[in-house]
């Protein structure tokens, strides 16, 4: 099977994305850190680009500014505890229907599934913190400078401080 990246998009939108969206000039080589331990001994963190936030405790991603400046996306991040329960999460992301993720955030940030795997010793453990960003970072060329220079290093430092060895990444 070959997954069709544009299967779910209307023809005109898919065609426009392929014509008008550009990358931010990634280097030719891709870094690779081999998994150091068996899954059953590995400590995991989770990160989604789905725009999830704790609705009573955190600011939503800035979709009001995005409404004024459609070529801009909020680069900040939210830390979401592994203790989070289902009704505590909302979604601030203008590019998909958030209803299913607000019903069960595990389809984007699978904290509860990883707690299950931890209980069954199928992974070593799930770190205390999971992470959420909002994936749309600008058009026609995404502005990744805030992720590269500030937020990415902050997240990485926090993961390492919590002993994380591997990360599951889930775009929306």
């Amino acid at each position: 099977m070959s997954v069709d990246s544009y299967k779910w998009l209307p023809y005109s939108l898919a065609s426009w994305m392929q014509k008008a969206w550009h990358g931010a000039g990634e280097p030719a080589t891709t870094p690779f850190t081999p998994l150091a331990k068996a899954l059953g001994q590995t400590r995991f963190a989770l990160l989604t680009t789905g725009g999830l936030y704790l609705k009573d405790q955190q600011q939503p991603f800035d979709v009001l500014r995005e409404a004024r400046e459609p070529d801009w996306g909020d680069p900040s991040y939210r830390v979401i505890s592994r203790e989070t329960s289902l009704r505590e999460i909302s979604v601030a992301h203008t590019h998909f229907n958030p209803a299913d993720a607000e019903e069960d955030f595990n389809i984007l940030l699978p904290i509860h599934r990883f707690l299950d795997l931890e209980t069954k010793n199928e992974i070593g453990s799930l770190a205390p913190s999971a992470y959420s960003v909002m994936g749309f970072q600008g058009h026609p060329i995404p502005d990744y400078v805030p992720w590269r220079e500030r937020y990415g290093p902050e997240i990485l430092e926090r993961m390492k401080a919590e002993g994380v060895e591997a990360v599951l990444l889930t775009p929306a």
């Binding site: 779910w8 014509k19 850190t33 459609p70 599934r113 299950d116």
Partner: protein, 112 residues
């Protein structure tokens, strides 16, 4: 997301991406990815469907465990368990995103 995956790998962590857009991962490079032909917003399946979510996660962890080099992209053999024409609309936001609204004239011009 690919930018963050690179930063984590450079920082000594191993990453696995579950993506609906493998063409981007191929174009821009990814340490490891599992591609799923699922509607946007649903990389791990349907809400409340724990067995489906666990299946996708375990398959992704197998890719993480078995990949030996960068740009490993495994295409999962799943079929989305829902009506295709319904889900082509259902994943979309109720109102067009600001980006789509701004460029609607360009998007409409792409119609055959």
């Amino acid at each position: 997301m690919l930018v963050l995956a690179r930063m984590f790998e450079e920082g000594g962590l191993s990453t696995i991406l579950v993506t609906m857009m493998p063409s981007w991962a191929e174009q821009y490079g990814v340490p490891r990815a599992m591609a799923v032909e699922f509607p946007f917003g649903h990389p791990l399946g349907l809400p409340g469907h724990q067995e489906m979510q666990t299946m996708v996660i375990k398959d992704a962890l197998t890719v993480l465990e078995q990949a030996t080099e960068a740009n490993t992209i495994v295409h999962a053999e799943y079929s989305w368990p829902g009506d295709e024409s319904y889900w082509r609309r259902q994943w979309q936001p109720a109102a067009a995103s600001p980006l789509v609204a701004k460029y609607l004239h360009e998007i409409r011009a792409m119609r055959p």
